[in-house]
């Protein structure tokens, strides 16, 4: 009997040994995407595009960004308005921070972006109980063929000069469209939410009046808000979307994000073009100053999608006068006072600064002062205190 039992046990073991109940995959398996985003590009490339463009779409998470005070406050003169128009990015633009995915795409063919990772913590705004990240899908021609949208940034701070690489017109990627360009335009954005919905005063690419984004990934649509609402925004009141009927939140499965190709202005981002053809605001009335701003924003709307900004706090950085004389006939410049934000009780810096617009590769304003520090023109121990150079066109009175 004992022998029979042993034989049965051995037979059972042998049977088990040759049979399988499943497929073991271990870590050698294709990665399951966390989200799959369908995207389609419509329209035609402009005639100025390359004959054989390498069209790609990048899923770009957005940064929380504040414009510098000079770009927010009303211009004090027509020349300052002109500098704002050419040097200040749209304060309501989508500011790229980090791309999570980047795939080739063809016009009128739906492509799928597989998202392998969640947005990192520094891309999500809020706290652990309620935070959110937004992304724009950016279509571009991969000029240098490196398979990614190369982001540039303004050269407005010395700390960034060491690794500053503006590229050249021949190597810079050209943006032809995006699902989310500016809060003042209709958009379709990818949202990722964790925890509770953002509060009513949550000012990270706000969509006031629209329903809260659902948890996890979703596609949100909105009409954008109009420029007439910007005055309220300056006062701290978040602008409401123009058309609340266009507010929509949908799952990734049921939505194809559609991006229409646009032609970037021929001279947007061209080297040294700031104000070269710009007489905006030259006649000096308030309406003309507004026009100057609108013109600048539209002109650079697409090219600025390839621009990020390491300084997201809105801090103004100052420089001492350059060794070489700037071409005052060619550059867009102004002499301006030092802006003061409402509620700022630290005192007003007297004197004037020389401001000049930089348009390439990213919009920015250079602030040049005779005396001061990197981020404070009124510091007690100035980093530089120089005599006005011969070309200095502004007041030298402190």
């Amino acid at each position: 009997m004992a022998t029979l039992g042993r034989l049965l046990a051995m037979a059972a073991m042998a049977g088990l040994a040759v049979s399988g109940c499943g497929k073991l995959v271990g870590l050698d398996t294709p990665v399951t995407p966390l989200a799959r985003i369908q995207v389609q590009v419509t329209g035609d490339l402009p005639a100025t595009a390359r004959p054989t463009p390498q069209l790609r779409v990048a899923l770009m998470w957005g940064a929380q960004w504040l414009p510098e005070p000079f770009c927010v406050l009303p211009a004090e003169s027509p020349k300052a308005a002109e500098v704002k128009a050419w040097g200040c990015p749209d304060p309501f633009r989508f500011v790229p921070s980090l791309a999570s995915a980047d795939i080739p795409i063809q016009p009128d063919v739906t492509a799928t972006i597989d998202l392998i990772n969640l947005p990192e913590a520094d891309l999500m705004i809020g706290d652990l109980t309620a935070r959110i990240a937004y992304a724009s899908l950016i279509v571009y021609d991969d000029i240098n063929g490196n398979g990614m949208l190369d982001l540039h940034h303004p050269p407005h701070h010395q700390r960034h000069e060491e690794d500053y690489n503006p590229g050249t017109l021949d190597t810079r990627d050209i943006v032809y469209g995006a699902s989310f360009i500016s809060m003042t335009k209709p958009d379709q954005r990818v949202a990722y939410r964790e925890g509770a919905p953002p509060g009513a005063n949550f000012a990270f690419y706000p969509r006031i009046g629209c329903p809260d984004p659902p948890p996890a990934f979703s596609i949100l649509s909105a009409s954008g808000f109009s420029v007439t609402s910007l005055a309220a925004a300056v006062e701290g009141i978040l602008p409401t979307e123009d058309d609340l009927t266009e507010c929509a939140a949908s799952t990734l499965d049921e939505t194809v994000v559609t991006i229409r190709l646009s032609a970037p202005p021929a001279d947007a981002g061209a080297e040294g073009d700031a104000g070269a053809d710009g007489d905006a605001g030259a006649d000096g009335d308030a309406g003309a100053q507004d026009d100057a701003g609108a013109q600048g924003e539209d002109k650079f709307a697409l090219s600025e999608l390839a621009c990020t900004d390491p300084e997201t706090s809105g801090t103004t950085f100052y420089q001492q006068p350059p060794d070489t004389k700037p071409d005052l006939n060619k550059e867009t410049w102004a002499c301006a006072g030092f802006p003061r934000l409402p509620g700022d009780t630290t005192g007003v810096t007297s004197g004037q600064q020389f401001v000049t617009a930089i348009a390439s590769p990213c919009q920015s304003v250079a602030h040049i002062i005779l005396r001061g520090c990197d981020n404070d023109p009124n510091c007690s121990a100035p980093s530089w205190d120089v005599a006005p150079p011969a070309w200095w066109p502004c007041s030298t009175t402190p």
């Binding site: 040994a17 109940c21 499943g22 497929k23 073991l24 990722y192």
Partner: protein, 130 residues
């Protein structure tokens, strides 16, 4: 001196990658034959085992729950019985009455996906001999 018998053992391991977490529970079932030689309080042997290893694998997509995945996208489980054989050198040292400790180790081979996977197993244990 020859000996033979059956053995069962269990082990578990969890591996992580950037995108997956895989937990394996292995139950090793063996019939074995052993050549052994007693020397003083010790026993030295060489053991040949043949049988199978029952593997339970649980895969979980890293960050999948946060992203709202569910079902097979979030994780999966599977069972498999893999044919296996191993050779182990074994040393048993009797310490107090019937109690002692053992050390063993040697190569092991599993059949998987039509091929052979060679590995190494070792163990440290407490023994009781009648």
């Amino acid at each position: 001196m020859l000996a033979w018998g059956a053995r069962a053992s269990w082990s578990t391991a969890t591996e992580h990658s950037l995108t997956e977490t895989v937990k394996n529970d292995d139950t090793r079932l063996r019939l074995y034959g052993q050549i052994q030689h007693a020397a003083g309080r010790g026993l030295f042997g060489l053991r040949l085992g043949v049988g199978g290893t029952l593997v339970y694998e649980a895969r979980t997509r890293a960050q999948g729950a946060r992203a709202g995945l569910c079902g097979s996208d979030l994780g999966s489980t599977s069972w498999a019985m893999l044919p296996a054989a191993d050779i182990e050198a074994i040393v048993v040292l009797r310490i107090w009455n019937s109690w002692g400790m053992s050390v063993s180790g040697g190569p092991t081979v599993h059949g998987l996906h039509g091929g052979a996977r060679v590995g190494w197993s070792s163990s440290l244990g407490v023994t009781w001999q009648h």
